[in-house]
Amino acid sequence: MSTTTKRASGPKRAGGSRRPSGPPADEPRPGRDHRLEVLRQMLLIRRFEERCVELYSAAEIRGFVHLYIGEEAVAVGVGQALREEDAVVSTYREHGHALARGVPSDAVMAEMFGKVTGCSRGRGGSMHLFDAERRFYGGNAIVAGGLPLAAGLALADRMRGTERVTCCFFGDGAYAEGEFHETANLAALWQLPLLLVCENNLYAMGTSLAREHAQTNLAMRAASYGMPAWTVDGMDVTAVEAVARRAADSVRSGGGPHFLEARTYRFRAHSMYDPDRYRSKDEIARWKARDPLVELEQRMRAEGILDDPATKRLEEDVTSEIDAAVRSAGAAPYEPVADLLRFVTSTTGSTR
């Protein structure tokens, strides 16, 4: 959460889609330190997940794992607009959201290993990361199931008169669920301090946007609930950050809920089990050409604030963080089976 000092460029054209409709981004262009931090976070997410793939093949990680690779600019860009006291509600594709929120990578990795040192004590796994201290409320694997919850967190803040923002991430698929509709209306009706971030990666599992939604302009439809709704190029972290800051500031100052549609793409399959039969190689290649990490790096190099040694340092930094996470996760104990029935209710004693 460093300060921003230079001018950010406006949102760019999302690959193959209409011109995004975000507000003009006339925020000051971020400084070098900030840029480096953003890049570091994105790189951490990328490398972390690449390592997860290896660990999955090695059967150290099990269950369902959904990779965020390709979408890093959204979590990191939005994350920059949030403060420590804000809350984040996420989905099953949440490694990126968790890491961008500052959940320690070793706690996330240990969680995937199912270890007691995991951020959910190994009870959650990849789909259910939690960190109450950092107000990271999961980790919800029911599509759209986090939306009402986020509205409730925002309601609590509203009723208590705090200036906190609750940010809820969800997908284009989630938008079709009834819970989206109910939550959008409730949030707008009650003017809740809620930032709705729809990660439109064009697919819900194998179902493309146009086969999920009769009308695919998601931001326009969101606006019909009576809240500001903008579209942003989700591959451009600078644009995401600019729009998210503007939205979060407005939410914070009593502007009611805001909706952001981030146009993005997952570079990998939906989950480890998905043979990805439903997307063309061409389409994937076109989007990979807009890799958000590469774009940011190139921009930073063009701006003269990144060079080879710096890149190398970053890579090393991130790799050693992940190495350490894997090591400590591997070494950590499993929770004893005798504790199975803990945490079903808060109080000990009879639970049934």
């Binding site: 939690f130 109450a132 009402p148 509205a151």
Partner: protein, 335 residues
Amino acid sequence: MNTRQSAGTAEATRTTYREALREGLREALRQDDRVFLMGEDVGRYGGCFGVSLGLLEEFGPDRIRDTPLSESAFVGAGIGAALGGMRPVVEIMTVNFSLLALDQIMNNAATLLHMSGGQLNVPIVIRMTTGAGRQLAAQHSHSLEGWYAHIPGIRVLTPATLDDARHMLAAALADPDPVLLFEHGSLYNAEGVLDGTIDAVGLDSASVRRPGTDVSVITYGGSLPKALAAAETLAEDGISAEVVDLRSLRPLDDATVLESVARTHRAVIVDEGWRSGSISAEVMARITEQSFYELDAPLRRVCSQEVPMPYARQLEEAALPQPASIVAAARKAVA
């Protein structure tokens, strides 16, 4: 311990189940400003069954919060508000509508504490009307509280007496985890005297509402008055029935049930839920598992017929447990 007596002298007050519930709400709202009531028509309308009448005027629209028709969103918002430090009381008009919010109840409220490895408890109370008897037919009359009791991570309460109606809410709000509170629609107008010496009730134990020696009649909620009426009739025949009110369906207080069965060696379970897979099956299973050798006769149960509740009066009556059917089952048990 089921009740806590107040220190001072207190008078017995005449009241109704509805008013007792309202007093419980009023007290909670007065004592803790984190408490608020949220649901469809709880405010200007006064609650679909009038439970919250007058509370809007006293506490304002922020704390007596009318919601749009969006069961999933406002139950979920209650869960979120609970995570955010509030103590929401969420009202769902009728148990049938709660199915629309079941994802939030089971996949979030009941599960978050565990999924988060103990980090996130959810202090929410969800109230709803349950049960038949008013000819409201198949989408407004079911008794699903026993069904809900299958879900780990929640409490399921069924206040059947005025004292429980008056005090269970406070205990529910004091609990750090989700509590479902089922109010039987046929009880709202029940009148009686509130025990002025009780100022708190516990949630963990069942209660013997009428002692007896020949047969245990185990029941809860809207069936309690019917069981007590049946016990009267049985007494006229010289059969002494002990009536046990479960009060909480999750957790179930095995101990009180088993103690009663140890005294009577015979039991009839009375339950307005559909028979197959009912909570009465669970009570039978608990007894069979733990007190098999105490039993002098097969266990029996009197449940609702397995039919979506019909509108016509004679059919609805036939579908429900009635004092006569309880009497008949108890007679067979002691035969």
